[in-house]
Amino acid sequence: MSEVPLLEVRDLAVTFETAGGPLPAVSGVSFTVGPNETLGIVGESGSGKTVLARSIMGLQPRARVTTTGSVRLNGSETVGASEAELRRLWSTEVAMIFQDPMTALNPVMRVGKQIDETLRVRLGMSRPAAKARAIELLEMVGIPSPAQRYDAYPGQLSGGMRQRVVIAAALACTPKLLLADEPTTGLDVTIQAQILNLLDDLKDRLHMSVVLITHDLGVVATRTSHLAVMYAGRIVEFGATRDVFARHRMPYTRALLESSPRVANPSHTRLAAIPGRPPNLLTLGEGCAFAPRCAYASERCHVERPPLSAPDAAGHTFACWNPLTEESR
């Protein structure tokens, strides 16, 4: 990664003010994404994935939220950026696909028009040019008979088709970075495979970088070059995907891998469940957030938070006082 990274996140922290006190949804997150790279971010529900993605976009509301650190998109800062500056970035640099394809589209507006609008407002295209381009985009994301679908309302499309429309709208301005927040959650496996393949193809065709956010390790296993594991708002392990799967050092990563059932395993294989459940972010203590559930926890883990280790030659880092070794893995 000698060239300038496309996305550079440094020490990002997002804290919500809630009735129960400050809620650190994301803390101390740093990573980079290079051109034409796919980064996977995995974590359980509530680990801060969506908040992270929204903060990268600069979409986080400003009231009752404190965002510190820095997010550089192709050199431009989004933390604290003005509305106008963000708009410029959204039209040329970055786009996001939201978690819920049902609510990402306006139900009373024809799908073609929703793509049109982006093109006309952001790129200043003329009406006919925008329509032609919108149909082109619909075709690109694999929607059959795009000219007819242009006039359909979101409610007339299946979940998979709607997600394709959402992708088409996100790609309208040919962004250099696409943030996909759980793009296939709630879709059927066969449709999920279609959408993930589509994202893969588009990435290569349009020379984009993709940040693929998911709770499903299966989604990121074969489709990302790098992988970040999130727990309680922090990245606890980061590295090349293959390294994280095969040579993970963080007990949480291991626990996550071992608690997911596998098709390849015989029936009735006992799962290595992680006891307990993810911590309440309002009452996070001083130590490692995983300590109450960790089989390797020592005294130190409960009182002192492990920092991310210095990256090894392959860029693999982890946050753990008692990392797994070749033998203990």
């Binding site: 799967f245 608690s259 596998r262 390849a264």
Partner: protein
Amino acid sequence: MTDVLLSVRNLTVTFGKGAHRVSAVAGVSFDVYEGETLGLVGESGCGKSTTGKAIMKIVEPTSGSVSLDGADITSARGRTLRRLRTRMQMIFQDPISSLNPRRRIKDIVAEPLDCWGSATGAERDALVSDLLAKVGIDPVVYGNRYARQFSGGQCQRISIARSLAMRPKMLICDEMVSALDVSVQAQILNLLEDLKAEYGLTLLFIAHDLAVVKNVSDRVAVMYLGIICEIGPADVLYEAPAHPYTRFLLGAALEADPDAPRRSDVLEGEPPSPLNPPSGCRFRTRCPFAQEKCVNEVPVMRDVSPGHQVACHFPLVDVQ
């Protein structure tokens, strides 16, 4: 494992009338043997939940029959039906909405006992405490809390405790872990296996996650658009699927393994609308092996090997 506990024959369920007629379940037959777990997989809208609900007679079957231990459920009414239902229980997908938010969890778990007056006073309390402890919830500390104060995984534990109160023989689990995080999901799946052994339960496990289904099931049935297209022992069916749909479904399943082959044969298109299912084989519109015969003739279930049946004119494995 030879006695049939639950027997479903030609079960159909149709919703709506005229142009809005949906045949959600279109002639489903299978047996569940005593002590086993039968997995039921299929994509969204293929009729899994409707099958489960029709078995419990929560939705009225349009035709067909269901019998539990020889007792016919489809024709049962009133008190007989209510009695029969207690021998089979159901656990639902949404853990939060499965529990009345305005009731204390010990009353929720005791509800079946109270309905039937089968235990009262100290005996009732002892039973409830025992059930809660079995599912890993401390009855003394949490018994008096309201259901709305628990997380998804905890709610699902409470649901399990409630379903066991009447000592049912059969448990129908409809997507019971779909809403849970992987780490919690594994806890619940392990708990289910433990309780199954302890209570001698028979399970019908409905889910869309192929890995989860394989993990818990002895046999698996694959559903597509209201029909069962393949049924067989879990290991055999996953190893050598006989129905083209099963093969594609397995091919699309994502393994948490970077070295897993990235299969390129992705199933194209989407399931047709159940309002207007295709003639002949219901899978023919997406099946790459479809031929003339598939358009005209509905494939019937036939054995490919002992205990492994498929409804396809041109199965992918040799018929013995």
